[in-house]
């Protein structure tokens, strides 16, 4: 049963990775403008990378 000593931490680590990825995407504003994101793919010009949170005051409270 020694194997569970590896497997459980690995399972938890993978889960945590997902959680951190979600929290990061939330913090970096990827859920801020769902309507806009759906439309932006149709714009001709290349999009500037999304503003990071510390530069966008709309999100400071988030």
């Amino acid at each position: 049963m020694d194997i569970i000593l590896y497997l459980i931490p690995i399972a938890l680590g993978l889960g945590l990775l997902g959680l951190v990825a979600f929290l990061w995407s939330m913090k970096s504003g990827q859920f801020e403008d769902l309507d806009g994101a759906a439309n932006r793919i149709l714009f001709d010009e290349d999009d500037a990378p999304p503003a990071m949170p510390e530069r966008n005051t709309d999100r400071e409270r988030g």
């Binding site: 049963m1 569970i4 459980i8 399972a11 938890l12 889960g15 945590l16 997902g18 959680l19 979600f22 929290l23 939330m26 859920f31 801020e32 403008d33 769902l34 309507d35 806009g36 759906a38 439309n39 932006r40 149709l42 714009f43 001709d44 010009e45 500037a48 999304p50 503003a51 530069r55 966008n56 005051t57 709309d58 400071e60 409270r61 988030g62």
Partner: protein
Amino acid sequence: MGHQTRASGDRLPAWVDADAAEVTGRQPGCCPAGGAAIALAPPPLSPARGAADEGLAHDVTAYVRPDGAGYALALMVEGIHCGGCVAKIERALAEQPDVRRGRVNMTTRRLALAWDGPPSRGGELAALVGRLGYRVAPFDPDQLASADAAEEKRLLRAMAVAGFASGNVMLLSVSVWAGHFQGMAETTRDLLHWFSALIALPALLYAGQPFFRSAWAVLRRGHTNMDVPITLAVILASAMSLHETMTSGPHAYFDSAIMLVFFLLVGRYLDRRARGRARSAAERLLALRATAVTVVDADGTRRHLPADRVAPGSTVLVAAGERIGVDGLVVTGRSDVDTSLLTGESVPRPAGPGDRVFAGAINQSAPLTLTAQATGEDTLLSEIVRLMESAEQNKARFVGLADRISRAYAPAVHLLAAVTFLGWWLWGGAEWQVALLIAVAVLIITCPCALGLAVPAVQVIASGRLMRRGTLLKSATALERLAEIDTVVFDKTGTLTLGRPDWIPDPGVDGESLALAAGMAGASRHPLARALCRAAPDVPVLADVAEVPGRGLSLDTPDGPIRLGSRAWCGAAVDDRDAGPELWLARPGRDPVRFGFLDTVRADAADTIAALKARGLAVELLSGDRAPTVAAVAAQLGIADYAAEVTPDGKVARLTALTEAGKTVLMVGDGLNDAPALAAATVSVSPASAADISQTAADAVFQGDRLHPVVDLIDTARKVDRLVKENFVLALGYNLFTIPIAMAGFVTPLIAAVAMSSSSLVVVGNAMRLAGWRRPG
């Protein structure tokens, strides 16, 4: 308060230049897919001209903040309907070399700007967006970072943490349950319990906060709500499980505790999400109050002051295109004033020396000089807002079904747990630790997981369905209140009618006159001119047509001027006949021709009224308009109860009287003058073309030219009501079944987990029936 009533007799055509707002609320050339666009925003002014630019530049500099090397500014943009608008604005800003960032958030309709250079550049950039045809208003993002939005994010984060933890704890728990049957070694089980504790306890501490806080807040005030038994169950379950783990006992309830929190957070997040959408309407209203006012001092110098700091008696300058910030008398200038915010009236009124104008109206065609009479809190706008707020307090007393049930439910559950504990300890002969374990199991099994999901699950599906059909729900309890109504009160202008004048075909007008008038009218964006263009869409626009503010259009020909405009200006005989909005066409050597206009009734209004009556609802019409017009509309639609020339407080009084007579009233209205009545009614609905403040006051907003969404809304509400009640029966029925098992002491963590998730699934499954439901009729 005669100014608050609609459409007084002086509805002479007032003229607006080409910059005026289009009454349909959509800008030509924008939004090829206009029909699908959501038009919650008031029409944009386009393009803002020099005078307006100047006013704007002063407006925004107060809101510019330093940002790294340069400056930043947050703007609210009205008039964004589709991705094309976003691209247009961002492209224009990207062409400016000094702009570091110009990004539109389409969901919130806000623009974040940052640039290198002086703060005053912000005004120029804002004016640039204004010239594209969008109305911009600066705002302070810190002030508007509403507590609501922050709370939503907290919930989402708590939900993510709880979801992660419950998934992993469940993984471990399944092993433990399997181990019970397969002879897992006790040390292995304890190890898995310790892992569960390690994951669940910090997660509970973090994700349970919304419930702990709310429970503590009500307990301190001596009440109880659904969060109290939740908090108690979570804390007791964790403490007991920790004790079991430490003493290497067989039963740990970590999975139940964290799963409970996760399910409840899902319910709560959905609940908040469903009504979060209309927040921006209230934010726009705040932006209106942020207008700066240009004050001219005695020595001729101009200052820009916030509207509430202007002293009565000051001389105030209002540029064309600007929103008027004070109530006052016109001293010089002649213009057209769009009072649609205040009255819902679509046709602008002419304003000249001696006329009163009110804060909140838009000065459309030419600069005006005013003497301020009332400012800040004393203006008509503020008065109506106050009337609305006081009426709103009545509504706050409504208690949702879920809260009413929880008021009875929480004490009952606690009583049962106490009885179980005492019963086992005193009479059952158990040790107090064992008795406590069983009592805690009762609390866990009765925890209102399914009850917590019963309402949000149905409401989220219902509001999603309604939103796809163009109806936005704003209040969480709107559907519940809608299900109870027995009386529907309509406003007329803009609600039963489109709020847009249409030409009445008249045999006295020959084709040639119509063609000439429509050709001239093509040069103007005045609502009456637009109506003429709609009546004769194929006529080419004539060149060299001049527009005279407050009067009409004129075209110079070799024979003399041709005029299209007000009765007096066109030299027609004045008679007493009160004929509603009209235009006259005067040609040299010929009799003037009259074009009459009427605010047409929505196409399906009569059907809608009939459908409402078929559902056993009483229908009334309350209008600020003149009696003959109201009577005509009432007769056309088959409404027997109507009242004309009703003031805003008159409407509130009528609604209060109905409420006192035991009626539950649905108010449907659009103007600012309806806002207090909307707030006073049991539940209220506004069309999306309504004034912002009315949309703020209303519980639901519907889009499009049809009135049928009102019926749809009532049907959906009744169906939702039935489903919610079924859900409560299911959730409570599950408790009737499991409580005896728990009190008898037979509950294990496995049974608790199965019972909890199955009851939640049953409730959600029942709610899903709404998705496949077809509305009758």
